[in-house]
């Protein structure tokens, strides 16, 4: 007789605990998930792998009840469920531990664990019960030294994570989702975390584990699902017999073609404009040295949390370096953004809306935000000159709609980015720092922005670009620095390295 089981295996596969089928999530103007399938068995560590923007965060937010899927279904024990809000997710036994450690610092350990489902009788909390049960959970997690009455704000990051885990256990979670839990821990704490995860799975709890560290996935994981561009490209790969090369192949290879401008090459005798030496910022990054010459575009490639943005902001003086020096044109800069701007540096920040723009002010005032004092005279504004300077840039950059009087809020992402570039064009820059210049910018406008950045370099500006999209860094830059865990692990010409090699470096920390 022929077995009609769709998954004919040696041993019958256990019934999946959690199954997601054809999950689609649309945001206004973007499709974050476009058909994701995920199947998690009880007692396994299921690793979710994918590049930045692949849709991992959106997926776990749907599981946590923070987002509602546009289409597709979630099944628990093969029965369809809806998860309208985070409380419902917990009630179903799905607990999510976010990277940003969402605990209430001012409350005690016990109060945090029972937050939202306080042990109470008639509105009065039963403190001793909560404390006793907290002690039991902490014992189980191998941290009997954390007192239930300790204020959570005074625990280290690892301790806060334990509290989150305890919260999940106290709700009798059957599925625990962990978003890069090891990113905030040191190696000893990572060991303890792995031990706890193994204990959980031994009890039949399923763990969905997101990590960029292949080594960790190899140690801990059972099966892997790979996401790319909002789709599942492989699911249920056994960790033991899937080679790293295969995983990286699955994660890379973009479906979108970018049009990058030609690289004219930087003349040998071009003068170094930006000179960074041994720069460090506490525990975030250390010993970063780089040089950008006039007319050169240097790219920093690395994953979210690798310290890329912090490097840029420290060079700019927006964060106070703990070691090292920054020189522009050979002159060492004191700390402080105003000093950097005066020396001819400009930054287009990662978060355009929260760090870059005055959303309720007209476009021209956004463009002249760093030059309005210079355009005026004796402390008086010259709005005519401001409008003229802004209009000139709006035309040159083809910013649309071509009005300088509209509020910045009304512009699309690409045009907001152009307005920020225009700010530094009016100012005149020797060094331009760009953090994620095409985030939230549609494909057509991307090509324009790439062209614009290249024209700026051709005019003699030294450009330093950070992007989490590796193809973008490789396509745009002349030279690339690969950043992993706050260290530069590779430096070289952009056309001598490919996406696979960069990912390898980022994930393994060394050349494969």
């Amino acid at each position: 007789m022929v077995d009609v089981d769709p998954e004919p295996t040696e041993q019958p596969a256990p019934q999946p605990l959690l199954r997601m089928r054809g999950i689609v999530k649309e945001f206004p103007g973007a499709r974050a998930l476009d058909g994701v399938d995920l199947e998690v068995r009880p007692g396994e560590v299921h690793c979710l792998l994918g590049q930045n923007g692949a849709g991992k965060s959106t997926l776990i937010k749907i599981l946590a009840g923070a987002h509602q899927p546009t289409a597709g279904e979630v099944l628990l024990d093969e029965a369809p469920v809806t998860i309208p809000d985070p409380v419902a997710a917990l009630r179903l036994g799905i607990a999510t531990i976010y990277q940003e450690l969402d605990v209430v610092d001012g409350l005690t350990v016990a109060e945090n664990i029972y937050l939202g489902h306080e042990l109470a009788r008639g509105g009065v909390t039963r403190r001793s019960d909560a404390a006793r049960r907290t002690r039991e959970v902490m014992q189980r997690l191998g941290h009997p030294e954390i007192s239930p009455h300790r204020e959570v704000g005074r625990l280290p990051a690892a301790g806060k994570q334990i509290v989150q885990l305890a919260r999940a256990l106290s709700r009798e979670a059957r599925v625990v989702v962990m978003d890069e839990p090891s990113a905030v821990l040191d190696s000893e704490e990572v060991g303890n975390l792995h031990r706890i995860v193994r204990e959980l799975t031994a009890e039949g709890v399923a763990v969905v584990y997101i990590s960029h560290r292949l080594e960790e996935i190899r140690q801990l994981g059972d099966r892997i699902t790979v996401l790319k561009d909002g789709r599942t490209v492989a699911t249920g790969l056994p960790v033991a017999d899937t080679p790293t090369k295969e995983l990286i192949r699955l994660m890379t290879g973009r479906s979108v073609e970018y049009a990058f401008p030609d690289r004219p090459g930087v003349p040998e005798d071009a003068a170094p404009v930006l000179d960074v030496e041994g720069l460090g910022l506490g525990a975030v990054f250390e010993d970063v040295s780089l040089t950008v010459r006039a007319g050169e575009i240097v790219g920093l490639a690395g994953l979210v949390g690798s310290g890329r943005s912090e490097i840029l902001e420290t060079i700019y003086g927006a964060r106070r370096a703990t070691s090292g020096s920054v020189r522009v044109g050979g002159k060492r800069l004191r700390a402080g953004v105003d000093v950097a701007v005066a020396a001819g540096m400009g930054l287009c920040p990662e978060e355009r809306k929260s760090q870059g723009l005055l959303l309720d002010e007209p476009v021209y005032r956004n463009i002249t935000l760093s030059t309005f004092a210079r355009l005026g005279r004796g402390g008086l504004l010259d709005e005519g000159a401001e409008r003229a300077a802004a209009r000139e840039q709006v035309e040159a950059l083809d910013l649309r709609p071509a009005s300088v009087d509209r509020d910045a809020r009304t512009l699309s992402g690409g045009n907001q980015q152009k307005a920020l570039l225009a700010r530094w064009l009016v100012h005149g820059c020797r060094v331009l720092l760009l953090d994620e210049p095409t985030r939230g910018v549609d494909v057509g406008a991307r090509a324009e922005i790439y062209g614009l950045i290249r024209r700026l370099a051709d005019a003699g500006t030294a450009v330093l670009v950070v992007s989490s999209e590796i193809p973008e860094v490789l396509g745009l830059a002349d030279r690339v620095l690969v950043i992993s865990d706050g260290r530069a692990v590779h430096e070289g010409p952009a056309d001598e390295i490919d996406e696979h090699a960069v990912l390898d470096l980022v994930m393994e920390g060394s050349v494969a």
Partner: protein, 325 residues
Amino acid sequence: MSTRSALSGPALRMGGLVLALVLLCVVGIATTDGRFASIGNITTILSLAATIGVVSIGMTFVITGGGIDLSVGSVLGLATVWASTLSTQYMAEDYGWWVIVLTALVVGLCAGLVNGALVAYGRVPAFIATLAMLAAARGLAEIIAGRRTQIVDVDPFLDVFRGDLLGLPMIVWIFVVVAAAGWFLLNRTTFGRRTIAVGGNPEAARLAGIKIKRHTLYLYGLTGLTAGIGAVMMLARTTAGSSTHGTLYELDAIAAVVVGGTLLAGGRGTITGTVLGVLIFATLTNVFVLNNLDSSVQAIAKGAIIVAAVLLQQWFASRERATST
């Protein structure tokens, strides 16, 4: 010219305030058989509005810049006391009335700079820093004055500031000049642009190279200075310095600023709106007084106006957002 249509945004908001003021005047005329619409009464309203008006102009700046100053009332009180001590008055007799003025302005400015330094460089939340100054300035004023009222009898000072100019009291002229200067400063100078930028998005302002800490210091200094100017006007009006002068002015000023259309969150400020807000509250008080109504009823009306104004603003804001995106 702005691309905003005439039916939305600032024009409509100002129109609403003018309408409210006109309505109040109509009520005043209708209920007081002639006593409201007299030159004398109008002068009374303007004199009533002048002192709080000057303080509110300063408050407009600090709120537009993303802060708040709860200490303006007690700083005003402290400045009246300091500028009317016996030794200050002796010096004023010897050197001239400007000694009193200078003392009041310097006291206000210094208190404001202390606030600013605490907020900008000490990173104390503005609410807390100025709340502390509210308590401390009032206490210092009580110590200096020994809880007594200090009568001002420097005649040249009283002659200048209690006099009239072109038919209007001197303190009304001071309000007019401060309001005009405030409008110019906010709308036509780099200082004003920085204020809007720092209040609207401090991080963007900082990353554009604006020295936001220094600017914050200046903003509180400016507000303190207007409290000092207010103290001079208070001395002129009451001919006395007292540690109880200016009590609750901070709340009246904040109310006028917010009713006028300045965003409490910062980033948008309007001097014209503040002036209208001050005039609305002064006229309201006047109409109630002329009708012999209880001041408690007046307080309720004031509360209602504040809530109505903010609700209307939110309605405008949501409409604007809906039409602009």
